[in-house]
Every structure is written in structure tokens, then in C-alpha cells.
Amino acid sequence: MADRPHHPPDDDGLIGRRGMLKCMAWAGTGVLWTVSGGVASSMLVESAAAEPMSSGLNFLQISDTHLGFNKAANPDPVATLHESIAHAKALPGNPAFVIHTGDITHLSKPEQFDMADQILKDLNLPVFHVPGEHDTLDDGNGKIYLDRYGPMTKAKGTGYYSFDHSGVHFIALINVVGLQGNGGSTLGADQIQWLADDVAHLRSSTPIVVFAHIPLWDVYTPWGWSTSDAPAAFEHLKRFGSVTVLNGHIHQVIEKVEGNITFHTARSTAYPQPAPGVGPAPGPLTVPAGELRSVLGVREVKLVRGRHDLAIIDQTLAASA
């Protein structure tokens, strides 16, 4: 993977890295986040591009592909996923793998999982999954998901797991299974205990990346955009100098810094949702014709060695339009 080439202009109509970055800056959609000591700052990616390429770890985040959805908000999520893959391949850096933060499918049907796997194969990278609530709608409450993706990561319980890459510890948490009425999203005591054990042996200087489907912070609880027992989980991550939390579920980018922890939700590749509390309900949002691609996107995350920073680049599908 180290010899994966950068992406020059090609006959797909994709544009080169520098041209894309310029275009992103021009469109105002590309913002690079640098997180250091718990304080986030941002700059346009055009100026960021002047910096030397990272020699550390790069990876991609893709979220909420919702294959099987076909309503007005986006009648063809397969097409926009293909476009997302093309964008991801054109991003700067050489990503080592992909994190998919859930809602792979719309209705948990095997053929929808098949389609997602087939399209994501085009990236030629390992894909690490967590399920969204749309991926656990089968009669087995997620058995289809777990049978398909659990073995690769030796997932425990409802599907949680961890792995290490380039000195970073990655933790996949599940907060979409076993939800109770009148409640919200939860991790559950078993998973939180597993997390405590999982990180017990790590040095506090180890960068931590946590990913889950539903936000692990209170974005908007009346719409279920939170995880009620997340604070108990983060108690076990307090001692670490750098904790980055990646979520999906709400189909838009929202960020927050809380002490050593930075939280980032991601765009969907399928359809947008309203801003928190705007409108009667958090259903699929139909935007004016021609604007859909400006609200869909993918994300690149970059660890800069020696700086202990994670840089996060969110890019919409409209950036090269």
C-alpha cells in the first residue's frame, strides 16, 4: 500500500490532488482540522497543502451509505457511493484502510450488504465496520451483520473490537443494539468493562481513535443523537493525551472539543439530514436539485508523526464538480 500512487488527472475526469485542493478551498468546503493539546484550529486546505505530506498514518472514513434507500432525498445512493469512492481515491495521501461508521444498508438485507462490499472493494483497502441501527434490522437483531463482519476483527459481544495500527489504538464501539423504549443509544455495562480492560495496558501517550455509529456526545438528545452512557466509557480514556472520536448517524459534520477528546460526526454518502432540532423530525432531507452532492462526502484522517496531531479533512462530492 505504501507504493500506492498519488492520483494525477485521469480519464475519469478526476482532477489532481493540488487542483482538487484548490477547488475545495475555492468552494469553501475543505477545512483541515489540526488538533493539538485539546485545542482545535482550522485552516483552508490550500495552505495546508503547502506542508510536506504526512509520513504517518492516513485512513479514510466513510459513513451512512444506506444502500437500499430510494426516496426523494436521493433516489440513487449506489451512484453517490461510487462517486464517493472516486473522491476517496483522489484524496491526498496513501490511506492504509477505511473505517465505515455504520448504516451500510438501509434495511439490513443481504443483497444490500453484498452491494456495499462490492463497491467498497474498488478502494482495494481493508474496511473496518461498525453497524448502524439500519444494519441490525434482521430477525436476529444484527446476526447478519455480525456473521459477515465479526470474524475479520474477532469482534466481541454485540460486535465491539480494537486494533493497533502505526502506534495508534483504534476502538470500535457498538451503540445500536438492544435499545430500550424511552431510552436512547447505549453502550451497556459489558462493553464499557471490555473497553476498560482493552486500554488498561496502553501508555497514556498512545493516540486513541474511537469510532461508533451514533454520536458518543450529546448532539441532540430529543432526536436520539447521543449515547447516554458514553461518559462512563470516556472515564477510561481520560488519561490519554489524544482521543479522537468518529461517528456517523446524523449525516452532517459537527465537531466538538472536550478536554483531551475531539468529537467529529461525518457526512453520509447517501442523503443529508436536518441540522439538530431544525424541522419536525430527523428524517432524510431533500435539498434543492443540484445541491445534493454539496452535502454528501467522505473524510480523510491523518496522523502526523511526532506532532501527536490528527488532521481531519472533510470533503463533499461537489468539490470537483
Binding site: 434495511l107 439500519h134 434490522l137 459481544g157 430500550q180 432526536w223 436520539g224 419536525p280 423530525a281
Partner: protein, 117 residues
């Protein structure tokens, strides 16, 4: 805590024996004392949030949202499949009592069926 294999959709809880009948097994409206009460799922809410039926009554929920929802009894007595846009779920209520339910995808969506004699 939440083992995938431990879910039983048909539970007998709190001493109430509840007939948990899926769509295909629901009695026809002619057989039901309180047939065909219609509930709506729209804008991520059950409407009306509380419905009163007589014992033997049947309730049918139809999803009007562009997002799927489910109808799941809090005590596990009944559970629909995921209802996509336009899909319906019918449940008979044989035994008097109060049945609280929610959407398992969006558990803040809650409703109640009051079954009277």
C-alpha cells in the same frame, strides 16, 4: 448484556398472556370486536400516542416516513419487522392491560395501547 442471541420476540411477561400475532396471522376485521384501528407513524412519532381498544381489538400501524421504523412492545410481547415507507403492521390485543411500545431504531419514539374489557 445485549447478546444478539438472547432476544425473544414472544414473551409472556408480568402474568399477562398476550397474543403476539404477526400480520399474516391477524384475525380478519370481521372477527375482531374492535377491528381495524389505524395508527400512523409520521415525523418520527406514533399518532395518536395513546390508543384505547377493546379486548380482541386490532391495531394497524402504517409508516408514512421516508425512514424505516418498528413497533416493539417494551415487555417484548410483540415486535414488527422493519417497516419501510408505506409498510404496515397489524397486532391483535386479546388481553386487557396497558401495552407500552417503542421504535427500536429510534427508541425515543414511544406509544401506548390501552386494552379495555
Amino acid at each position: 448484556m445485549f447478546r444478539l442471541s438472547s432476544h425473544y420476540p414472544y414473551l409472556i411477561a408480568g402474568g399477562l398472556v398476550v397474543a403476539a400475532i404477526g400480520v399474516t396471522q391477524a384475525p380478519s376485521p370481521a372477527q375482531a370486536a374492535d377491528a381495524g384501528i389505524v395508527a400512523k407513524i409520521a415525523n418520527f412519532a406514533f399518532a395518536p400516542p395513546t390508543l384505547t381498544v377493546h379486548a380482541g381489538g386490532v391495531v394497524t400501524w402504517t409508516n408514512a416516513d421516508d425512514d424505516p421504523h418498528t413497533v416493539v412492545a417494551d415487555n417484548g410481547a410483540f415486535k414488527s419487522h422493519a417497516l419501510d415507507t408505506g409498510d404496515s403492521f397489524t397486532q391483535a390485543f386479546a388481553t386487557p392491560g396497558v401495552y407500552s411500545y417503542h421504535c427500536s431504531l429510534h427508541p425515543y419514539m414511544v406509544g401506548k395501547i390501552v386494552v379495555q374489557r
